[in-house]
Subunit: 207 residues, 2 copies
DNA sequence: GACAATTAACTGACCGGTTAGTTAGTATCT
DNA sequence: AGATACTAACTAACCGGTCAGTTAATTGTC
């Protein structure tokens, strides 16, 4: 027996991350209000008292969950911009697939669903998310569209509209997976759907 | 005093609908768990005790909210099928715009967001919703796609994929409006966006 | 290397505010 | 007057947040 007795070892460094991971999972599953801190703590292998050593309140924990899970996303997005080679179409596909492998296929994808469900209860967090993620992505897509139009690949389109149209399928896929899809077995094959919907959109964008 | 007595008139017939409307609004805004029944009741102009005359529990009220708001939707969808005239493209556009004016532009649109946020807490309701709304819509779109393919208008496409691709923008628009969009002023012009995204998709579908 | 003395991560019982659900009583209708 | 739509005061349970106490690690002393 290596460590049943050591169930509660002292691991100050690891706790916050573990608590945040547990909180993300449960917040996404049940929503913020319906999630008990006792459950978050025990999912992270500690008790509620310990949770309060690291976070001031349930709300603070929520903010930490959002922040921790979008910070890497922001960082990664930035260097993805610079290296543009190939056609605008290829760049756009790369952008979308990068975003997918970063958001869609990781636990972090739940943050999107969480923001959608809790935006009205935490408007300031929603504004922060909008600026840190959505607006940034919008600017990225806008650049690619400009490039595509300049190269004669794309039609002149409303950038705002195009952005939403391009990301809608991927966002829908994520939200679906964490909500109704989780209850009704029939899940869409993500890779297949991403390919399909991107082709559809690209055809629409082409001159 | 003009009508403090009016405040509690006896209106057995009107109460359930009023309570359901108030509940929908608050459930969509704050989520199921974070909504107080006292608030639902007072939004409907009664007190909590009255609410319990018409609904057994908070959960029963939730189910009623979903059911009442998708029943008309189902009914309307059915007769929209039969009258197919014109091209498949026109039919598809009609289907989507009908759905939009029925779901997107009414209070009932909130049901979609509500189902997304609460699906995991009410899996059986989610399954019901999926069968009563999603699967039904899927079959409708499938018929139109078959028609379009038979007429040589559309490419041979995976119906499941195409369905999700077609409805993604509209669903995203609704979910957006009731969540992050509600916190960050910048709302998309629905009519414009629906036109834009449908054109994009249609281009992709065409032979 | 053993054995305090000290520090700090962690626990779990507890408190108080909140809210789903109940019920005794009031107002309105026929 | 009898029936019933409705109210408001009430209860019980639940859960966010606290804190006195426990236990694991570290340091210091011989």
């Amino acid at each position: 027996m290596e460590s049943p007795s050591r169930a509660h070892r002292r691991r100050k460094e690891a706790r916050p991350a573990e608590l945040i991971a547990a909180a993300l999972k449960l917040f996404v599953e049940h929503g913020f209000a319906a999630t008990r801190l006792d459950d978050v703590a025990s999912a992270a292998g500690v008790t509620k008292g310990t949770l309060y050593l690291y976070f001031d309140s349930k709300e603070t924990l929520f903010r930490a969950v959002i922040e921790q899970n979008i910070l890497p996303l922001i960082a990664r997005a930035e260097d993805s911009v610079a290296h543009h080679d190939g056609t605008a179409a290829e760049l756009l596909r790369g952008l979308l697939l990068d975003w997918w492998s970063l958001v869609g296929e990781t636990e972090a994808g739940g943050v999107l669903k969480l923001m959608v469900t809790e935006a009205r209860n935490f408007p300031d967090v929603a504004v922060y998310y909008n600026e840190a993620v959505v607006e940034r992505a919008k600017r990225l897509v806008s650049q690619v569209l400009d490039l595509g139009i300049a190269r004669g690949e794309f039609r002149r389109v409303d950038h705002e509209m195009a952005f939403h149209a391009i990301f809608s399928p991927a966002m829908m896929l994520i939200i679906w997976r964490y909500s109704i899809g989780a209850c009704c077995g029939q899940n869409i094959d993500p890779a297949h759907f991403m390919d399909f919907s991107f082709d559809l959109t690209l055809n629409g964008l082409k001159t």
